[in-house]
Symmetry: C2
């Protein structure tokens, strides 16, 4: 759900890609993103593409042909990181678990010590399962092995703390339409000075021109060399979305997501509906209950949409038909909206079981 001021901001007249006003807006976006990522990284920007372009920017720039790329996979987006690494010609080492599980500190350290990777990647909040992967042990082991750390924060940014700097994340990317509650179309991106130093010394050629981070850096920072025509409209929207978030305060927003999550789980528990992910590893603003016995996910989703105009997602891949994916974030994360959903969900189950 996108708030009205964001739409209003997007109706501002378009300015040129080298207009000082554009860079003024871009500076606001970059500052807001630094706060949301929990980083002081100078290279913090929004890539001109969707969240998936952020993943490609991370992998294409930092994973070289023939390098060793270690990926933690327990969901769809872990898999996609491997696919992008494979396309770059890297040697992929997968640390794999069933969808929805997470990796313990010991498992993370052991895998990285064994894989001796140049780059390690993990998915902070796996949208396909609802599981939250803590990055501290992964980043520590990766740095001990001399590797760079990529974190997929597509679902976490703006919803929960990312703490990129204190966690030790070198490269992180996200999207604008989840935790930041803006229209999609840009990919927030950050890279540590250590990562940029590596990139500036990269020897192997890069095929990608549009997502070449060195060209993008020269556009957003001095010498402001023309690269592409960034969408002023999307930047206006993101700047306003970040202003709304920072006006409330990140901590308050995160606490609101957690409180609604607890209310939601308690409500489901009362209906006898279990959660797919173990309690300490749940994404608070993306809930993944197990599809209750005796009803189908398709029937639940259809009834909710038809009778209550509520759109929720189903599981896919190994979790197809087994879980539901229910976002409660941004302006929707209130006790009232949570209770409204719980009431509708309860009515749906009663109807389908009747």
């Amino acid at each position: 759900m996108v708030e009205a001021p964001v739409y209003e901001a997007m109706a501002q007249p378009v300015v040129g890609y080298l207009d000082p006003y554009f860079f003024e807006i871009a500076a606001k976006v970059r500052d807001g993103l630094r706060q949301a990522f929990g980083t002081a990284n100078p290279l913090t920007i929004a890539i001109s593409g969707t969240g998936s372009s952020g993943m490609e920017t991370a992998v294409a720039n930092f994973v070289e042909p023939d390098s060793r790329f270690a990926v933690f996979v327990a969901g769809y987006f872990g898999d996609r990181l491997c696919e992008m690494g494979r396309r770059q010609g890297a040697q992929i080492a997968r640390c794999e678990k069933p969808w929805g599980e997470t990796f313990s500190d010991e498992e993370a350290a052991e895998f990285i010590q064994r894989a001796k990777p140049h780059v390690v990647a993990f998915v902070h909040a796996e949208t396909s399962t609802g599981a939250l992967q803590d990055g501290k042990a992964i980043a520590t082991a990766a740095h001990d092995a001399g590797a760079l750390v990529i974190a997929d924060c597509v679902t976490s940014l703006g919803g929960i703390p990312v703490n990129a700097d204190s966690t030790g994340i070198d490269i992180a990317y996200s999207c604008t339409q989840k935790g930041l509650s803006c229209p999609s179309g840009l990919a927030p991106f950050t890279a540590s000075p250590r990562a940029m130093e590596w990139l500036h010394g990269r020897k192997s050629p890069m095929r990608e021109w549009y997502l070449d981070l060195r060209l993008i850096e020269e556009y957003y920072d001095a010498p402001h060399r023309y690269h592409h025509t960034a969408s002023a409209t999307l930047f206006y929207g993101l700047a306003e979305g970040l202003r709304v978030i920072l006006d409330e305060g990140l901590e308050k927003r995160f606490a609101r997501h957690c409180a609604c999550h607890q209310r939601f789980v308690k409500g489901l528990d009362a209906m006898g509906v279990a959660m797919h992910v173990a309690a300490p590893h749940r994404i608070p603003h993306l809930n993944t209950p197990v599809v209750p016995a005796g009803v189908s996910d398709v029937a639940i989703r259809k009834y909710l949409l038809d009778k209550h105009a509520i759109e929720i997602a189903g599981g896919f891949g190994p979790l197809a038909g087994k879980i539901l994916r229910i976002g409660l974030m941004g302006p929707l994360a209130t006790p009232e909206h949570t209770d409204e959903f719980l009431g509708a969900f309860d009515g749906t189950l009663r109807h389908l079981r009747a």
Copy 2:
């Protein structure tokens, strides 16, 4: 300049990337783009990135490592096509002329016969110079040589006829913020059945995942396999922008651009200001007069912006300080706006020469 209904359309609530309503809007966009491109190509879509991502989609998908890539270069974007081809590992053959000139039918045919390329690329309307390159002889010679034809239509689409099918263009891309008068952020793209047949048989691996046209095709067409979260907001805007254009009628819009162009050139002529490009090869909606003797482009642009709130662009590369680049397109292409500009320009020259 973006018209009000386009901004209004962008404030519609965001829907999911697999929502039937999204594909309904996408179908409208695709149909409108087919009309603007002058093509019946089923694979006509909008890529989730700016115009530059359209160029990369064309080159990355259709120019293979070690293939022969022949490019007509008489401006900045011809150069960029070569750079992208080089990054893909292709052997580049450049047919080069000074910025602002165009290639005759004989020059085009002779070059292509000599280069024996797998792919030929040209810039239909070169923004950096204001020159329009007719594609018919290029496409005919390219097809005789068995090559695919890429046309950069970033500045032409929606401003003048592209006639992709009757010209013989296999692959064309554009942006949304020029001839289509929408906010930037999407890259209109079309590929002929012949080009798609070639692509489906392509043997060499592609590094790019985000701009892999085969994945994008599977998302927009059946089986609608999830690829990325396309920006519903930008699609709403583009659909509305195309509706405005088609309501007026493409032919009427093109005629309006030509009439304003003639009025503009006549007005400049009366001031003794010459055009950089030879008369038969000018882009009607992007005018490039020569900077008049005795005044600097910087002074002209600053005075126009400060005193008249009119933003025009300067030349760059070999044309830095030598030309001005003045867009008269979409809602700005009226006799009133043209005269308003001419009056302001005349006043500016008088002031600077006084």
